[in-house]
Every structure is written in structure tokens, then in C-alpha cells.
């Protein structure tokens, strides 16, 4: 009986018993959930980038449920645009599920956990379908899925959300790509389009773009004979389905528009990322570099830190596995059996698919090593976007699944391999025993190895020796389930140890719904938390956004802040800034022009001693008020609380409304970052808004009773964003319905 036929028979056995099939499919997932139960139930909170992701998602959904699409974040770093909408997959329809859960009474953290797990499962399912399309076998695809579930790809989601944001749409893109070029059906094109839309709004799409580029190059090299026909078929399909093709292109353009708008506004230099760009510079050099508004990074910045070599050591794939820290996002881990299979299958035959997967893995691996190889420098010099991203270790998000896929392909070849002679069989036996002995020796010599690693190797040796003794014709497919059981021994112990290490932290984070409340004064000192996770990342970046509360005006550790605030903190010192910006409103009688670096001493004096004069960027358009209204040597008025003369009557994250009643005109400075998209309306009429005192918003308020409305109105308004959110949801529903309809037919 041929191998494919046997596999079909095995599956028919399960199909006749759906209960067993369900258990088989969900058993690895149930086991995974059991091992990570402390994370899922919220006893161990998410860390590092996932915590940052949770913060942004909580801020986003909390504000949406408050009836506001958040575009500005007034709580931290003295105000900055809420950029996460376009960078962190806020358009993902799954987030709607999270919003529904929160509305239904589930707290934010558990709703987020459910979202993470469902998203991860979608990725695992995508990997299963991709493996099935490549391997042409459900059984081996199931093995690939289970190995994926028990690799660093899933254990890393609690510290590195990029795994999901980059991998999940990426794997589905490749699945639909393969299906589309096999069958040229509209629904697969829609699938590809939707995946591309998600990639365009998920963090940074450059890693995926690199993978796709490498795939196209390798495919063209290995399957060059097929290319003309594929192109011809593709052109034929496009000509027949013009409307669909145009719709898909438009859909990708719509999805990419927020990111493009963000990049365009970013290139104007209103926001800077000192913490991102200055790892290898002195504060002064960093300041000059950042203020020059050069968004591109040097080669050293992109390649020296964040490489895979920095985040993982070859030996740590096998040793010290019980010492994996929850405070690093370097969970590069694959079950031991993956390496064993790759090693013992060295005698199996090659085909183009295997070569393609193997070469792609090698190229990605070499790029991810950064400065340690000339490959990443080559890409840096010849591919323009390599200057705009770092953290090359993110390529491991693709390397791990590719290695799993390659090992399962090798396993399939091994199982199907027919020995030509008794001599070859003996040679193969020697190879298997030799490889296993080599692994055991390595582990014994280096020590600090988990018991399950030895158990895996011994059981694997028994399995493969028995398999070889019986011969491939005597092989039963359910043996593979046994091999899978052996394969999962080690990851189970690794995950158990990981969860145990992480459980040492006792942390709490805001989980409940918050309503924004305005305060006239910012706190001077940050709330302190004994939680260990804040030793690694600034507490300020997380807590206050989650709680929708004002943070102290500290900018230490800021990754994105307004250029003005960065300028102030560097030139006048953080202490002066902290003292000045703890109050949100100052009322001045005088204004004067501020000429940048020349006036820095004067600005420091004004802020430190609270002089009654506001300094405004550039002299143009400033109407100087009558000096008789007050003495510039006197102090400016500080608003500590609301009164009949000054009161904030309405506040949300994008806007605030103030009522005033002054005897004389006053120049009001609101110590929230200035941005050109902020507008001020006094009694319904737009007034001039200036960048005052180096970084803040300032404008003249006439005498008498006034209603002032300050609002953030970028070109990409909340309504456009809401349209895009609905567009994503609508696209997904349409796509699911078209697949469902086809399946029914």
C-alpha cells in the first residue's frame, strides 16, 4: 500500500470517529493551555513588548468604548499622537471580539488573553493548512502543527507580540498564495489581499517583505521553467477578473493609507525617537542626530543590537532550558526532536521544495545574525528599507516555522524512503544510532540538561531503530502519533519550567474600564511598583496609559516624544521641565519671540522662575500686547484648579473645552505638546495656535466670557479610521461567506 493511501486510511479511521479526531486535534492545544494556565488566568501578567501591546490595545478599546476614537495620548511624555492605531494592528477584526467581551463584562486583561490565544490559534491553523498544502498530507501537517504549538513561537507570545502581528497574517498570506497559484480562484486572491492588509497595519511590515522577496527569488531560481506559465495564467486571471483585481488593489491601498499618512507626518519631524536611535552615541551627539530629523539608522544601530546571535546561543537550544527568563523576549526554541530528525534524515533524497525551504531558512538566518555576517550589511546597502528597521532577531519568527516544516518534510521522506539493499539498511541503522549517541554525548559533556531531553533521545532512538527494523512497508501511521508524544516530552518540561520561573513575579496592572477625568496638575512622582517587570521597561510607558491617568512629566526612556519636549529636556534639563510642566495651564500677559538655541538661557529663566512672559517660536504673526497690562518681571498665573474665571468643562483624549472669563486678554499656555494638527476655536471661530515655551500649545484668550475648544484634527481623522475598521470587518465577513458558500457547493 502506498504511503499516501495509508495516510488516507488512517484518517478515514479518525473521520469515522469524530470524537477521536476532535480529541486528537485539541489535545496539543489543551496541553499547551494547561502548561500556560497561570498566564491565561492572569496570575502571571504579560511582559515586555506584549505588555506594551496590551497597554496600547487597552487604551484604544477603552477610549472606543468611551465613544472616542483615540488619536492623541495626553497622559504620558507631555502628550504625543497615539500612533499605535496604525502600527499595532488596531484594525484587526479580532479586536472587535475583545471589545464585545469587555462590553459583556469580561475585564480587559482576560479579554486580551482570549484575543491573544485565538489569534495564536489562527496562526497555528494557518501553519497547519500551509504545511498540508506543502506536504500534501494531513497527518504530517498535524505533526507540524503540534511541533509549532510546542515551540518558542507560542511560548513567546507573552513577551513578544510581534510574533503574532507579523507571523499570523504572514502564514495565511503564503497559504493563500500557494492555493491561488495552484487554482487561480477569486477567493484565494481575496484571502491574500486580506492577509496583506493586516500585514500593512501590523507593526513593521519589513520583515515580511524581506521573506517574500527571498521566497520570490528562490522560487524563480528553482522553478524557472514554471514561471512563464504561471505569469501567463495570472495575466489571464487578471484580465477575466478585472473588477476583483482592482478591488483587491484598492483594498490594500485603503489598508496601507493610515501607515502612509503616519509615515508622511512622521517625516516632517514633529516626533522623535531618541531611545530608538541613539544606542551608540553620547547624549549630545544623539541630540544633534535626532534634531537633524534623520529617521534612517546607521548600519551599526540596525545590526549591532537586536540580532539573533545576541538573543540566542546555539548551546541554549539544548542546555540551560530550565533557566529561561521571563524578562527577555528571545524565546528561540524548537523541540529537540526537530534537530534529531534533521540530523538522521541527512541520507534522504532532495527535492525542490525542500531546497526552497532550506535556502530560505539559511538566508533569513544569516540576515538575522546582523554584524556577525556580511549578509545583513549587503542588504543594508542595497535594499532601501533596511535602514528603517532593527531587531533582526524578529526574523526568527519565520526561521522557527521554516525549520519545523523542513524537519517534517525530512521525516516524511525518511518514512517513505525505501532501502535499496541490506547494506544500506545497516548503514542507515548506524547513522541513526550515531546521531543519537552524538546528541547524548553532547548533553552529557555540557551538563545542565533537562531529564526530558535524555528521555526524548532514548525514546527517539528506540522508535527509529524499531522503524528501520520493521521497514517502511511494515510502518503504521499511528506510530507517528507515538513519535509526536516523544517529541512533546521536552517542550512540556521546558514550558513548565518557564511558567514556574515567571510565577516568581507578583504584579498587577489596570484591567478595569476607566473614564477619563481631567486634572489641572500632573503628579510629581511616578507611582512605584515592586513588580519586577518594570525593572526592564519604564513603568511610566505602561501604567498611566492603561489607567488613563496623567503621568509625571518625565521623559526618561521615551521612544516617541515630540521634538519640542525632547529639545526642552535636553537643553533646559529634566528638572526644570518637571517643575514647570507639573502644572497644565499658565496665563501670561506678555509674549515674545523665541529664536531657538540663541534664547535657551532666557527660556530656562522663564520656565524656572515662572516669569510673566511666554516665548513663542518665530516672531511672525505675534501681536505683542500692551505692556501696561502687567510687569514681565512678575510671575505668570498658574491654574491649580477650576474657577469661574477658568474651567475645563469637557475633556477627552483628543480635545478639551474650556470656559474663561478674564478682565484683560491673557496668553494661555497648555503644557501639552504642540503639533500642527492641533486647532483652537474661540467662541466657534478658529484662532492662531502657537508653539509656546519651546514645546507647548499657546494662544491668546480675549477678555470677557469665552468658550474655547482645543482639538486634535489630523488629516487622518477618527471618522476615516472608523471607516477603515468597518472596512476590515466587512472584508473579513465577505471573505468568510465566499469560502463558506464554496464549501457548501
Amino acid at each position: 500500500m502506498s504511503s499516501n493511501k495509508r495516510i488516507k486510511t488512517t484518517f478515514h479511521f479518525f473521520q469515522r470517529r469524530p470524537f477521536l479526531l476532535t480529541i486528537g486535534t485539541f489535545l496539543p492545544l489543551a496541553m499547551w493551555m494547561f502548561l500556560f494556565r497561570s498566564f491565561l488566568w492572569g496570575n502571571i501578567i504579560v511582559n515586555l513588548d506584549t505588555q506594551s501591546y496590551y497597554t496600547q490595545i487597552k487604551y484604544y478599546i477603552n477610549n472606543l468604548l468611551n465613544g472616542v476614537f483615540p488619536l492623541w495620548d495626553p497622559f504620558i511624555f507631555l502628550g504625543r499622537p497615539f500612533y499605535s492605531t496604525v502600527l499595532n494592528g488596531a484594525f484587526n477584526p479580532l479586536l472587535s471580539l475583545m471589545a464585545v467581551l469587555v462590553r459583556g463584562g469580561v475585564d480587559y486583561y482576560h479579554a486580551f488573553m482570549l484575543y491573544l490565544v485565538v489569534f495564536m490559534m489562527l496562526g497555528a491553523a494557518g501553519f497547519y493548512f500551509l504545511s498540508r498544502a506543502v506536504l500534501k498530507s494531513r497527518l504530517y501537517a498535524f505533526m507540524a502543527y503540534a511541533l509549532f504549538l510546542f515551540s518558542g513561537m507560542t511560548a513567546g507570545i507573552f513577551t513578544q507580540s510581534a510574533i503574532l502581528l507579523i507571523f499570523v497574517p504572514g502564514v495565511w498570506f503564503f497559504f493563500f498564495l500557494i492555493r491561488f497559484f495552484n487554482a487561480f480562484k477569486k477567493r484565494y486572491l481575496l484571502g491574500m489581499t486580506f492577509a496583506a492588509m493586516l500585514i500593512g497595519t501590523s507593526y513593521i511590515p519589513f520583515h515580511f517583505a524581506t521573506l517574500l522577496f527571498i521566497f520570490i527569488l528562490c522560487y524563480a531560481g528553482l522553478y524557472y521553467k514554471r514561471l512563464p506559465q504561471l505569469l501567463k495564467d495570472f495575466c489571464g486571471f487578471s484580465a477575466k477578473n478585472r473588477m476583483t483585481a482592482v478591488f483587491c488593489l484598492l483594498a490594500v491601498a485603503v489598508a496601507a493609507s493610515p501607515l502612509i499618512a503616519f509615515k508622511l507626518s512622521d517625516s516632517r519631524g514633529g516626533m522623535v525617537s531618541p531611545a530608538r536611535h541613539c544606542s551608540f552615541k553620547s547624549p549630545q551627539a544623539c541630540y544633534e542626530e535626532v534634531m537633524k530629523n534623520d529617521a534612517a539608522m546607521t548600519y551599526v544601530e540596525t545590526a549591532r543590537t537586536g540580532s539573533l546571535g545576541e538573543r540566542a546561543r546555539l548551546a541554549e537550544l539544548f542546555l540551560h532550558l530550565d533557566k529561561r527568563s521571563y524578562h527577555t523576549d528571545d524565546f528561540f526554541y524548537l523541540p529537540l526532536i526537530v534537530f534529531v530528525i534533521i540530523a538522521i534524515s541527512c541520507w534522504t533524497g532532495l527535492d525542490r521544495k525542500k531546497i526552497l525551504v532550506f535556502i530560505m531558512t539559511c538566508i533569513l538566518f544569516l540576515i538575522s545574525l546582523g554584524e556577525a555576517t556580511p549578509v545583513s550589511r549587503f542588504f543594508y546597502e542595497h535594499v532601501f528599507y533596511f535602514k528603517y528597521f532593527r531587531n533582526l532577531f524578529y526574523f526568527s519568527i519565520f526561521i522557527m516555522p521554516l525549520l519545523i516544516l523542513f524537519s517534517v518534510m525530512q521525516l516524511k521522506s525518511l518514512v517513505e524512503y525505501k532501502m535499496a539493499s541490506a547494506g544500506e539498511k545497516r548503514g542507515h541503522m548506524l547513522l541513526i544510532v550515531g546521531v543519537h549517541l552524538a546528541f547524548v554525548s553532547y548533553l552529557l559533556v555540557h551538563g545542565d540538561t533537562m531529564v526530558s531531553s535524555y528521555a526524548t533521545i532514548i525514546l527517539s532512538l528506540v522508535f527509529f531503530v524499531y522503524f528501520l527494523a520493521r521497514g517502511s512497508h511494515g510502518f503504521k501511521n499511528y506510530w507517528l502519533i507515538g513519535l509526536l508524544g516523544i517529541a512533546l516530552l521536552q517542550p512540556a518540561q521546558v514550558f513548565y519550567a518557564y511558567a514556574k520561573n515567571a510565577s516568581e513575579e507578583d504584579c498587577a496592572i489596570p484591567r478595569t474600564h476607566s473614564h477619563v477625568a481631567f486634572s489641572y496638575v500632573r503628579p510629581e512622582k511616578a507611582v512605584e511598583s515592586p513588580c519586577a517587570i518594570y525593572r526592564y521597561r519604564p513603568y511610566i510607558v505602561y501604567w498611566y496609559d492603561m489607567a488613563l491617568q496623567d503621568a509625571p512629566p518625565v521623559i526618561k526612556g521615551a521612544e516617541r516624544i515630540s521634538k519640542g519636549v525632547y529639545f526642552l529636556s535636553h537643553r533646559i534639563g529634566e528638572e526644570v521641565l518637571l517643575q514647570y510642566a507639573k502644572n497644565k495651564f499658565y496665563l501670561y500677559d506678555h509674549v515674545d519671540a523665541f529664536n531657538g538655541d540663541e534664547d535657551i538661557g532666557r527660556l530656562r529663566d522663564v520656565l524656572k522662575n515662572n516669569k510673566n512672559v511666554a516665548l513663542i517660536d518665530g516672531a511672525k504673526g505675534i501681536v505683542l500686547q500692551d505692556a501696561s497690562l502687567g510687569d514681565p518681571a512678575e510671575r505668570a498665573l498658574v491654574v491649580h484648579e477650576g474657577s469661574d474665571a477658568f474651567r475645563v468643562v469637557r475633556f477627552d483624549v483628543n480635545a478639551l473645552t474650556i470656559t474663561t472669563n478674564f478682565l484683560v486678554p491673557k496668553f494661555l499656555v497648555y503644557t501639552d505638546s504642540y503639533a500642527p494638527a492641533w486647532k483652537v476655536f474661540i467662541n466657534g471661530r478658529q484662532a492662531d495656535l502657537y508653539q509656546a515655551n519651546g514645546a507647548f500649545k499657546g494662544f491668546w484668550v480675549p477678555a470677557g466670557s469665552n468658550t474655547i475648544h482645543l482639538t486634535f484634527l489630523p488629516k487622518m481623522s477618527g471618522n476615516i479610521f472608523m471607516f477603515i475598521v468597518f472596512f476590515f470587518n466587512g472584508f473579513l465577513i465577505y471573505m468568510v461567506l465566499s469560502f463558506y458558500k464554496k464549501r457548501k457547493e
Binding site: 540580532s307 546561543r313 541527512c346 541520507w347 544569516l366 554584524e371 516568581e504
Partner: protein, 108 residues
Amino acid sequence: MQQRLWQRSILLYCLAAALFLGVIDGKVIRQQRATYLAGMVAKSAEGREKDRIGVLFYSAMAQLFPRQAGPYVNLALCYYRLGQKQKAVSLYHKAIKMGADPNKIIIK
């Protein structure tokens, strides 16, 4: 059908190994790893977490400076604190053989 050597996976493995040996600078990787872990050790609080990261850090250092006893002494100390005493003793012996002063180790 009998497959030839160039049709087998081992050829791919050998080519990849040759490529990696040719282009990867192992010293740079080890230095990057050690620098990263040093930062982690510095940030972590005293206790088991510091010792666990310490094991990773001093293992990387031992690989970077294989003839120096210092990393082995510290590695042994981390293992000792983590309760893996047998491993700690064997590392102490190794460090002493490499020239570490046994009195100082005992004091530590």
C-alpha cells in the same frame, strides 16, 4: 531508484555548514550575546532570577574566554545558589585546575 550523493540532503547540509563557517564570525556573536546578558544581569533583582540569567551570562563568558577561571567560578556560584550543588562543585574544581585561588572561592 538508487539516489546519488548529490541528490541527498547531506549535500545541502554540507554546503550550508561550509557557508556558515565561511561567513559567520562566531566571536562577534559571542560578544553580542555576552553584552546583552550582562545588561540583563545588571537589571535583574537579587535572587533566583539573577542567578538563572547569571548561568546564561557566565556560560557565554566561559565560551568567550575559555582559558580564564573567572567565568567558571561565577558560574559555579550561580549553580550553587540555584541548588545544583553537584554541578557547582565540578565547576569549582575546573576553575581551580585553571588557576583560580581555592581560598578565595571558599570565602565567596
